[in-house]
């Protein structure tokens, strides 16, 4: 199947180095301390952050840092066929673990000992790149909750089909069986926190694909900064500053 046409257009009309349209909204869940909705093309994810608050399970309390918990789940209606997804299935567990460790690396947990920060992620629409959208949404939600962080964490995926590196794969391109590289970076520090890859790739091509994904992450970071700036301005205005 042809994923890149001879003119250089992908299945949805994008260029290989073009990302899908991003949209973010802060404060979607009123009850949560911080929340955000993040859309990457047709993928839509909602994140809610509760914390820092008292640890619910005393045995897990850490005396020197905050406990970060993360839960990733896909809604039944998120994919094409409505499937009842068991809560603790292995993919969800792995993604929860991965996102938790990613966010844990950037939250300044030592400033909040003996407390707990919960990140809940729900995928409303899944069209490829749910992991990346979740991380971006979590970053926004944590910022909305006012939790101190070292840097933003942004994430993007890239692949390699028809001998072309492609940025931001959608579901069809992802299930083509080609390699899928998901990268999460700290943009200001220029460090890679999350790196996941599956399927085979020669090492030099992998370097190109990873570089492309990092560029995508930086573009997302710029957008997120804009959104946060807008949000802060609105808050200032409401306070009458």
């Amino acid at each position: 199947m042809e994923y890149v046409s001879p003119e250089g257009l992908r299945l949805d009309g994008r260029r290989p180095m073009e990302m899908r349209q991003i949209r973010a909204e802060i404060g979607a869940v009123a009850k949560a301390d911080g929340s955000a909705v993040f859309e990457m093309g047709n993928t839509k994810v909602i994140a809610a952050v509760y914390g820092p608050r008292e640890v619910q399970n005393r045995s897990q309390q850490l005396s020197d840092q905050a406990l970060v918990r993360c839960e990733y789940s896909m809604a039944n209606f998120s994919t094409g066929d409505r499937m009842r997804r068991p809560k603790g299935d292995r993919r969800s567990t792995e993604i929860s673990l991965v996102i938790r460790q990613t966010m844990e690396a950037c939250i300044l947990t030592h400033l909040m000992p003996r407390s707990q920060i919960d990140i809940f992620l729900q995928v409303l629409q899944a069209d490829g790149g749910t992991r990346s959208a979740c991380i971006n949404a979590a970053t926004l939600a944590l910022a909305d909750a006012g939790i101190p962080m070292r840097d933003l964490v942004t994430s993007c995926s890239a692949g390699y089909l028809n001998s072309t590196p492609l940025l931001d794969l959608n579901y069809v391109e992802d299930s083509a069986g080609g390699p899928d590289v998901t990268v999460g970076i700290l943009p200001k520090l220029d460090k890679v926190t999350l790196l996941q890859m599956d399927a085979k790739l020669p090492m030099d091509i992998f370097e190109n694909v990873m570089q492309l994904a990092m560029e995508g992450c930086k573009a997302v970071a710029n957008y997120i900064r804009e959104v946060l700036l807008e949000n802060t301005k609105t808050l200032e205005y409401r306070r009458g500053v």
Partner: protein, 469 residues
């Protein structure tokens, strides 16, 4: 997380600081250099498809089983591969029995991705009846002792188990060709799985902010590390999978450097696995010979240059003479050769053995030959004197001789049928056996040497035999 926290909670601050400070000076607590692996030992169990890997103190066992199932609807002509891990609480106090924890799921998915997504196992060859029946391969990994770096050890265990696994052969039969007959291993030799390449997982641990990277972290180092990355590569220079699940941030250049180091380590580990599997296969072939202890094959195309010449000249007759000269020892030798060759090469193609470059015309593939279990083709030659002494003194030497005479007169010069008439005559005289154990020697002229001293000895016996032939 609970595992890592459990780790670090059990360590004192002093221990943690000690490890960190030592790493700042490029020293590791167990004396290794930063990019050194621990000792790797791969062992195999009695059954096909079971392996036991020890990487330092980490102890992991892998098992592979296969079952006929219905294929997935969207992939009707491909077999399936499933991966399960069992984190036994005896390996680590933080492991809980029953439901796999987060780290167990992560490990399972990392190794699974490395094997499945990179198409290491050929799933299309597992199809029996398209759309109806395919083989489902199940890999189980049991963690027996957690000494750190479970991912690498589990990956090696899975690969070793897959390489030595044999699935039963099945053919289509029945009236409409839709019935599947599964042949038990005694009837038909089970088949190995087809593996295109070996994806090897190499784990790196990152410490602190100084960009300190080490390979193959131990249990204690894992409790202290800031982040980890597992790169799965094969020896063809492909990256099969990477997992860096958060943790400390690292520069992209460091990641590429780690990948380069990992490819070197992967080549090293691949060769170790292949050596271990080869050793096991040879051993397995030898064991198979012992199983069918009632057969002795007289293979016409015997080992050694002398035999070959004989074969070319006068075929059977000469060989009979040769054989009788060497009695049982030679028989065992030949049988050993044919066994090794046939087990290595089921189709019976010619194969040069390690002794004097013998080539089998046809491998006598069907029948196994018996031999003493302690017979080892790679030992040094036995002392000729000892051999002569034992042969001369043992009365039993004559018995096989006589029986040979009978059998040889009966049989025809056809290799494949030789086993049956000889079925009853296989004698395992302990004395001869014991002396003969070391007969086969390494090197080019082993059998010649073995043969020559006997020529003088057994002239009398051979002359009798010659008359028959």
């Amino acid at each position: 997380m609970e595992q890592r926290l459990g780790n670090s909670l059990r360590m004192t601050l002093n221990e943690k600081n000690f490890i960190k400070t030592a790493l700042l000076s490029d020293l590791r607590v167990d004396g290794r250099r930063p990019f050194d692996y621990r000792n790797l030992s791969i062992k195999f169990g009695r059954e096909d498809g079971s392996s036991e890997v020890q990487l330092g103190k980490t102890h992991v066992m892998g098992f592979v089983t296969a079952q006929l199932v219905q294929p997935y609807r969207d992939r009707p002509n491909e077999g399936t591969l499933s991966f399960y891990t069992e984190f036994s609480p005896m390996a680590d106090p933080s492991f809980e029995a029953g439901r796999p924890g987060e780290s167990a799921v992560e490990l399972g998915r990392i190794v699974d991705r490395g094997l499945r997504e990179s198409r290491a196992v050929d799933t299309e060859s597992l199809c029996v009846l398209a759309g109806k029946l395919v083989w489902s391969i199940r890999i189980d990994i049991h963690i027996l002792d957690n000494g750190g770096n479970l991912v690498d050890a589990s990956n090696i265990a899975a690969l070793a188990a897959l390489l030595t696994f044999r699935r039963p052969e099945c053919t289509l039969g029945g009236e409409d060709g839709q019935e599947v007959i599964v042949h038990p291993p005694e009837v038909r030799e089970p088949l190995p799985l087809i593996l295109h390449h070996l994806p090897i997982a190499v784990t790196f641990a990152f410490f602190g902010d100084e960009n300190i990277v080490v390979i193959d972290p131990t249990h204690n180092e894992e409790a202290v590390m800031g982040g980890r990355m597992t790169a799965t590569l094969n020896t063809n220079g492909d990256v099969c999978a990477i997992q860096k699940a958060g943790g400390a941030g690292v520069m992209q250049s460091v990641i590429m450097q780690c990948l380069r180091i990992a490819s070197v380590k992967a080549a090293d580990i691949t060769s170790k696995i292949k050596n271990a599997v080869e050793l096991h296969n040879t051993e397995r072939a030898l064991r198979k010979i012992k199983r069918h202890s009632s057969f002795v094959a007289l293979d016409v195309s015997g080992p050694g240059a002398k035999m070959r010449e004989n074969e070319n000249q006068s075929g059977h007759q000469k060989e009979v003479g040769e054989l009788s000269r060497n009695h049982t020892e030679r028989l065992k030798l030949i049988s050993e050769e044919s066994c090794v060759s046939q087990s290595n090469d089921v189709q019976g193609e010619t194969q040069s053995s390690e002794q004097g470059g013998t080539s089998w015309r046809d491998g006598n593939a069907k029948s196994f030959i018996s031999r003493p279990s302690s017979w080892d083709p790679s030992t040094k030659g036995v002392d000729a004197d000892l051999l002569k002494a034992s042969l001369a003194s043992s009365a039993g030497a004559l018995i096989p001789n006589k029986k040979l005479k009978e059998s040889i007169s009966e049989e025809k010069p056809c290799e494949a049928k030789l086993e049956e008439p000889l079925a009853d005559i296989y004698v395992a005289p302990s004395r001869i056996e014991a002396s003969v154990i070391g007969l086969q020697t390494n090197g080019e002229n082993t059998l010649k040497d073995a043969v020559k001293p006997k020529n003088k000895r057994k002239k009398k016996a051979s002359s009798t035999i010659m008359q028959i032939g």
